[in-house]
């Protein structure tokens, strides 16, 4: 969902608030409340980045928060630099710690991240508590007000006034930065990962790198929040690393609304103001929050922001201009390049360049041999069907070829080079893209937005161009949009661009999954049962689309149970049974093969062997 995605709105609002609030708010009490609300919003934003956009629960966000505060104070005192410069510098240890935590835990899984985050916060709290020579231990470090004399002498501002102004500006800048990232390939990579990491990898997203970058950014923002809080509290103690701040960070996001920038602001303001209003229950504050958390997780997982009507939160900027859903506006610069959207020139069917060569491929799950020394090759512009009864090892084969499963033996050569050891996203970058039997789409997003998530490999926008949002980035975005429209066009879904994926017909959803794969600009497309669940008319339509793709130069490997379809569109068929190849040839040859008939219908002599269910989805790995 895209809330407040207009960077200009945030920037304008921030500037206005930073200029008006210091003068509009007369009492230093309300000024310091707004400061706290900003700091909590920033802390919430940092937590929201990993929790709302990646799905990682952070129980130790105070690790970054405290680290920022301590780094800013200690470096300004020991290096003799201005506190405000130190506050900016304080982001770097946060980034470093984020990379460390991310790299340590994210390779294994989200649960490990939660544990690591909690543990790191406790380690830092213990260090702050015990490293007395540096931190004065539990007594903490007392800080002078970081005044900026120039602002008082020249502009006549009091400290609380310009402190408020600075905090509002920095908080707004952070929100603006994150909103820019969310509306770029970076944010799309996060969203794609959160929905399905397999799908994200399959369209070429190096998810680990993007996840670690997310945690590092989150660490930087939380550190900044900690450093910004110091001039208000004026003494830093190990409590800054404590469970209370970690819990607050998480609650801001959960109560405010995960995956919503506005939610972080609401949550941050709530946590600054409500404790003031509820002073009489101060000692129960955390208990009340805990109960709230328990209830919200059960009843309202989307948080308070979900009470605000969707159309207020969502910008009404449609990706495809309204009225003519079928015709996108393509800037001239992109239209010029639109021929190269299908990267590969149509090649005559006679050209017999080998695109894929599978040699002696085997997979064993513990004792069970799922695929046993299978060899076949695929030529350019060919549709090769991989068929066989349930449990024959087709999907396992596909998973090994696409890098999702490591072969026990054998090799795969794609476009002349071995694929061994390469991750799915690396293979996707080389042009080898697969689809999945059980398609995961993003049901709330429109068909076009779904495809847009898969355009990761189209153009390479540098982080700087994303943030600045200049002409170059707009061109890149337009190219990605044009590619998405083209991909939808290729599967005949262009007219449905604006329909949410969840409300597409089942057959259309399967086609949309193919469009996602096409947006990764494959040279070789591996389709895992694309016609499963389709009615005969839809399957016919799919067959036409696949033939069309082939004549446009695509090479396709098709795993499918729909035998008539396989017979009619495949150039060659490879038949697997119990993990071994039992036949290969043109549809006619295979049809008349005795071994194939035995495998499918059983024979009078050999009883039908029990069917094992070794598919990727339930294979132990």
């Amino acid at each position: 969902m895209r809330y407040l995605n207009s960077g200009w709105l945030i920037a304008g609002f921030t500037l206005l608030a930073a200029m008006a609030l210091p003068f509009a708010l007369q009492s230093t009490y309300t000024q310091s409340l707004v400061v706290l609300a900003c700091v909590f919003s920033l802390l919430g934003l940092s937590t929201n980045l990993m929790f709302g956009y990646l799905g990682y629960t952070a129980f130790g966000q105070a690790a970054f928060f405290g680290l920022g505060a301590y780094t800013a104070v200690l470096s300004s005192q020991h290096l003799g630099i201005s506190y405000w410069a130190a506050a900016v510098l304080a982001m770097s240890p946060g980034i470093g710690l984020g990379i460390l935590i991310g790299f340590a835990s994210l390779r294994v899984g989200g649960a490990y991240f939660a544990i690591t985050s909690l543990t790191v916060a406790e380690i830092l709290r213990l260090l702050a508590d015990n490293w007395i020579s540096l931190t004065h231990g539990p007594m903490g470090v007392v800080v002078q007000r970081p005044t900026i004399p120039f602002l008082t002498s020249e502009l006549g501002l009091t400290f609380p006034q310009y402190y408020l102004g600075i905090v509002v500006l920095i908080t707004g800048a952070a929100f603006w930065l994150v909103s820019r990232l969310l509306d770029s390939p970076v944010g799309r990579a996060w969203k794609a990962f959160k929905e399905s990491h397999l799908l994200a990898e399959s369209v070429g997203i190096a998810t680990l790198r993007y996840r670690i970058a997310n945690i590092a950014l989150s660490g930087a923002l939380a550190s900044l929040a900690g450093a910004l809080l110091v001039p208000k509290i004026l003494v830093i103690s190990p409590d800054l690393f404590g469970a209370s701040y970690s819990a607050t960070a998480l609650l801001i996001v959960v109560l405010g609304g995960q995956g919503s920038l506005l939610g972080s602001v609401i949550g941050g303001a709530l946590f600054a103001l409500v404790p003031e209003l509820l002073r009489f229950v101060d000692e129960f504050r955390m208990a009340i929050f805990a109960v709230l958390l328990l209830v919200v997780v059960r009843v309202k997982p989307d948080g308070l922001v979900a009470f605000i009507p969707l159309q207020w939160r969502q910008s009404n900027r449609s990706i495809v201009p309204d009225g003519s859903t079928a015709v996108p506006i393509v800037p001239a610069s992109v239209a010029r390049n639109s021929q190269d959207l299908t990267k590969h020139e149509p090649v005559s069917v006679e050209a017999k360049n080998v695109v894929l060569e599978v040699t002696g491929l085997s997979k064993m799950f513990r004792g069970l041999v799922a695929v046993d020394a299978v060899s076949f090759s695929v030529n350019e512009c060919e549709i090769v069907g991989l068929m066989g009864p349930n449990g024959a090892g087709k999907t396992t084969c596909l998973s090994m070829v696409s890098g999702f499963l490591e072969p026990s033996a054998g090799s795969v050569r794609f476009a002349g080079a071995l694929t061994g050891g390469q991750a799915p996203h690396q293979l996707a970058r080389r042009g080898l893209v697969r689809t999945f039997q059980h398609t995961t789409l993003f049901p709330q997003l429109s068909a076009l937005e779904n495809v847009l998530l898969a355009t990761h490999l189209c153009r390479n926008s540098s982080p700087l161009s994303v943030i600045l949002g200049g002409r170059r980035f707009r061109d890149d975005e337009a190219a990605r949009r044009a590619l998405s429209v083209h991909a939808l066009d290729q599967v005949g879904l262009r007219a449905r661009s604006d329909t949410s994926a969840g409300s597409l017909a089942y057959g259309e959803q399967r086609l949309l999954a193919i469009a996602l794969a096409l947006a990764a600009k494959p040279r070789l497309l591996l389709l895992d049962e694309p016609a499963a669940g389709m009615n005969p008319a839809e399957a016919d339509y799919l067959a036409q689309i696949l033939l069309g793709l082939r004549s446009a130069g695509m090479t396709i490997v098709l795993v499918e149970h729909n035998v008539p379809m396989m017979m009619s569109i495949c150039d060659r068929l490879v038949v697997l049974h119990h993990g071994t190849k039992i036949a290969e040839g043109t549809p006619a040859e295979v049809q008349s093969d005795a071994a194939v008939r035995d495998a499918y219908f059983g024979s009078a002599r050999t009883p039908v062997a029990p069917i094992s269910n070794m598919e990727l989805t339930n294979a132990p790995n």
């Binding site: 929790f51 799905g55 990682y56 629960t57 129980f59 460390l100 935590i101 790299f103 340590a104 835990s105 390779r107 294994v108 989200g110 649960a111 490990y112 939660a114 544990i115 690591t116 909690l118 543990t119 790191v120 406790e122 380690i123 213990l126 260090l127 508590d129 015990n130 469970a243 819990a247 998480l250 959960v254 000692e283 129960f284 955390m286 208990a287 929050f289 805990a290 109960v291 958390l293 328990l294 997780v297 059960r298 997982p301 339930n618």
Partner: protein
């Protein structure tokens, strides 16, 4: 080996037995339910607090208080599983259970802090001690080691030799398939939760005369249990036992050369080192 060192090792062994009991429960829940119970430390707190209240306020003999405290913790575990875990298990979002158990942990901690305050409290456990030369082993520590061993053997027997153990292992491997062959999956899960809560309660009851009671004892032990569970391999019962004892020994050794704060920080950092270099745990994961 000096007597001082030997003394430290014996003390470490007994504390490690306590950590093993806590970590085993945590790993059991992870193995069977595939969730992490962030309120597991608070079940240990319930065991400790229950014992303190029974012994000091109600005058129950210590050895009678231990099983009652374990039952209290098991009951708390059952409630926890009914309120904060079971209703959320079907969610696609795995963070729901983490969040709700985290909320329960905050709630229990805050309630205890409100009712008790922050003051530590000492109770006497099993009186007397065994003296071998200069080595002094209190009967409390001997009881902890003995009961701990008995519990570990009991769990091992339960998981390996009984029908319930087979069901647990079936659910751990594939809950859907277990359900399909007629295993009452939710009963198996609830029982695993109650069992692990009981173990945490026993650990709390047996350690509280040694470590002093503090409302933060649950918060401290949970991180140690995480270190143990990650190092031992998530879901591995034998790994949890072995690494729990190793952690206790290590803590005792480090405690003799540096302040306990630094020693804890160092031990906690093992978690990150382990994840960096051997994310699957030091031992082979048995699921």
């Amino acid at each position: 080996m000096s007597d001082g060192l030997l003394q430290q090792l014996v003390n470490g062994l007994s504390a490690g037995m306590g950590y093993a009991l806590v970590a085993m429960g945590l790993t059991l829940i992870f193995g069977v339910l595939h969730v992490i119970n962030f309120a597991h430390g608070e079940l240990y707190l319930v065991g400790g607090l229950g014992t303190v209240l029974l012994v000091s306020h109600l005058g129950v003999p210590y050895m009678a208080a231990v099983p009652i405290a374990a039952i209290l913790a098991a009951t708390a575990g059952w409630l926890m599983s009914q309120i904060a875990v079971r209703p959320l298990l079907g969610r696609r979002d795995p963070s729901a259970v983490m969040l709700s158990t985290y909320a329960v942990s905050l709630l229990i901690l805050q309630t205890v802090l409100w009712a008790w305050g922050t003051a530590p409290f000492r109770i006497a456990g099993v009186e007397g001690s065994l003296e071998i030369g200069a080595l002094i082993i209190s009967h409390q520590r001997l009881t902890l080691i003995g009961v701990g061993l008995a519990m570990l053997l009991f769990i091992e027997w339960l998981l390996r030799r009984t029908r319930y153990g087979r069901e647990v292992r079936a659910v751990a491997q594939d809950a859907f398939a277990a359900h399909a062959i007629g295993i009452d999956v939710s009963r198996v899960r609830t029982m695993a939760f109650v069992l692990s809560a009981g173990m945490a309660g026993v650990a709390g009851a047996l350690l509280v005369p040694i470590t002093l009671f503090s409302p933060l004892m649950g918060q401290n032990v949970i991180i140690k249990a995480f270190v143990v569970v990650v190092l031992g391999g998530m879901g591995s019962v034998s790994g949890a036992v072995l690494l729990g004892i190793v952690l206790g020994l290590l803590e005792a050794l480090l405690g003799s050369v540096m302040t306990s704060g630094f020693a804890s920080a160092l031990i906690y950092s093992l978690l990150i080192v382990a994840l960096l270099f051997r994310p699957q745990g030091l031992l082979k994961t048995v699921r």
